[in-house]
Symmetry: C2
Subunit: 451 residues, 2 copies
Amino acid sequence: MTKLVVIGGNAAGMSPAAQVNRRAPDLDIVVLERGLYTSFAGAGLPYFVSGAVPSSANLVVRTPQEHRARGIDVRTGHEAIAVDPAARTVRVRAGDGHDYDEAFDQLVIATGAAPIRPPIPGIDAYGVTVVHTIPDAERLDEWIRTRSPRHAVVVGGGYTGLEMVEALLDRGLAVTLVEKRDQPLASLDVDMADRVSTGLADLGVDTRFGTSATGFDTEPKGWVRAVSTDAGDIPADLVVIALGVRPNTRLAVDAGIAIGPSGAIATDAHLATNLDGIWAAGDCAESLHRVSGKPVWVGLGTHANQHGRVVGLNIAGIPAEFPGVIATAITKVGPVEVGRTGLGEDQARAAGFEPVTRTVEGDTRADYFPGTAKIAVKIIAERGTKRMLGAQIVGGPGSAKRIDALAIAVWNAMTVDEFAQTDLGYAPPYSPVLDPSLIAARLTGDAARSS
Amino acid sequence: MTKLVVIGGNAAGMSPAAQVNRRAPDLDIVVLERGLYTSFAGAGLPYFVSGAVPSSANLVVRTPQEHRARGIDVRTGHEAIAVDPAARTVRVRAGDGHDYDEAFDQLVIATGAAPIRPPIPGIDAYGVTVVHTIPDAERLDEWIRTRSPRHAVVVGGGYTGLEMVEALLDRGLAVTLVEKRDQPLASLDVDMADRVSTGLADLGVDTRFGTSATGFDTEPKGWVRAVSTDAGDIPADLVVIALGVRPNTRLAVDAGIAIGPSGAIATDAHLATNLDGIWAAGDCAESLHRVSGKPVWVGLGTHANQHGRVVGLNIAGIPAEFPGVIATAITKVGPVEVGRTGLGEDQARAAGFEPVTRTVEGDTRADYFPGTAKIAVKIIAERGTKRMLGAQIVGGPGSAKRIDALAIAVWNAMTVDEFAQTDLGYAPPYSPVLDPSLIAARLTGDAARSS
């Protein structure tokens, strides 16, 4: 009997385990998870902190018990500490502290990513936390409930940072956002990010762009009381560190698994690593970017799920390829919705394209319809070919998921001229007669003629 | 100097007029409009009746005065009564009753469509109306304000019919819907339409499917008091006829312009008719259906706008082709949102495909997120090739515009397998980690293997 070992019990690990369990029931499956949870929605953590989601248990898609009931041997509290590709074993540290070797025929590395916690003074103070796991979020929630903090500082203005800003505002705290770049959401072009900055200011957030946290000052009992920055101190009863994540690759590196240019595990089209019978999926693995044609590391839950399925099919003997990503992402902060896909303007230039862009400010609904909101749609196209390279949206309610139609257009390498003539849904409660995305494509098409 | 005459002052007529005015300022432009309004949003009429849009003036995108200020000679109250292609003249009946000939070099026929008013007894009674123009909607609004009707009957369960059902419910009336088919929204497959029927029942609408109106009974003063049907009488203080529209082609037919198999004006890829220098746009004209490859008549405001632009560019000397339609349409009735694109199951069969379909019931948001609603996504694919032929959505708030991503996939003739692996936006307030559309594509792909 062949044995599959999976390292990591979140989506990228449990998805191939479930695929194999369903499609190749003869295989033994062992999943090693160093934490206590499987298959939880990390993207939902800010909404547990905000109070929108009443219990952290709501975020668990499937518990270890549920996986076990389906015949998958899930071992929580079991950390893989080394992989021996020649011996085909994983060295495991069990919850009770003893180590043992687990043999495998096929191995999936789904070790995920770890939040960045820079070694600045005071980062281990009470009241300072990342929000990456359910225990992180529960601890933060408890702090808010029991210590009644009034002023929070969020360090880092990426997706998680902004979602935590919203969550803390929802909990009634005053929030300062510290971001070393001059804009929030580094994956947005600066002109679009500026619209988000305006939205943050409208929500009463004290935004400090171009500012780096240099330390955390504490009270005598060890609780944080201020964030030191290169532009002065900011009082804080609570600090959320949201500086992004890094792929967990130590195990792979030590085993001789190749790392790609992005710093994550290199994979081929089947998501196989350079070592036979060893696969990588999720936040620890690279993906091909369909527009740049280069390997990238993005780290989105959608990709983790899609990766996991492809790996599972391949292990189950059903050849499957991963078609790549275009890094579509959406978020919101208060009433401001954000969507992006493909390459931004600078990314396009870096990938060797000559980008042409146009931004349209339109309405989410017919302009006469109650509740209509402003929406800005930016399209990035290649001069001459007019190929759509990317798109970005910032607007009011009803804006974010509009990125999906643009994403499918970018995925298919449509030209802006062709996209401008497509047939999208129109009804006054949901759109002007021509969706703002179509107008943006028209204007970009006019601008993107060969110079 | 060359002269362009446009017959019809709504979107399909004013759009080419505006294009030509901007891009070929040397051309003289005369627009003949028999009514008093130009460029109004017909799709907004139900929302004026409902009270959501406070004034019918809000629905006018651009008034005749505004068009004239831009240099377009718009003549309202002027009806084109005949076209002489050989003499290159249009016979015009002016508002004062006198007739004259207007010469043209280029002619755009944008005569639109007329609501179907079957010759059944009593259809001209007071209290019975179609809702096709601003005066229609204003009259209906006045009836509701001044006569305090309590019970309305809507005859016809298409898009306009359902939107009028919603509008009348919003005005506090009890509403009965009479529809001769066994389902609302004939462009939906019956299984998806049944979900809409359930939604109507949940709203308290008395639905009478498989029932035909046979007459309108009136009070002595001529006001409607009941709708007679083949299944008994239904008391009514107010009746809205929403039996669809028919293309206005009489003028074209009389001039020798070819009509296509759909009954609307036949056009080539440039939207030229069979007569040199005569073009057709909007609800009076056919379009190529990109999936069936056949000419169809759909009659949507989106197409009217897109048609108009293509015609305008061609007349301005910038060659442009109309790429065809996939009949994407969205609507809502109460909290129930509807979207459809491409071919339905029966339409696919009629077009010569062997359709395979799957329907997924999912959530509009992460299932743990407050305010999540049920959404059903059906995908229609071709067996063997797995090409996406169409898709339909019925669900709660946040459902309708999801059809756009599916529309772009159908537009590009993607396979369900490829669509299932695309990269759509995910955030818990807006979507499960894998959008229900992707799950529906996966299942359809599994089912659509060659048999």
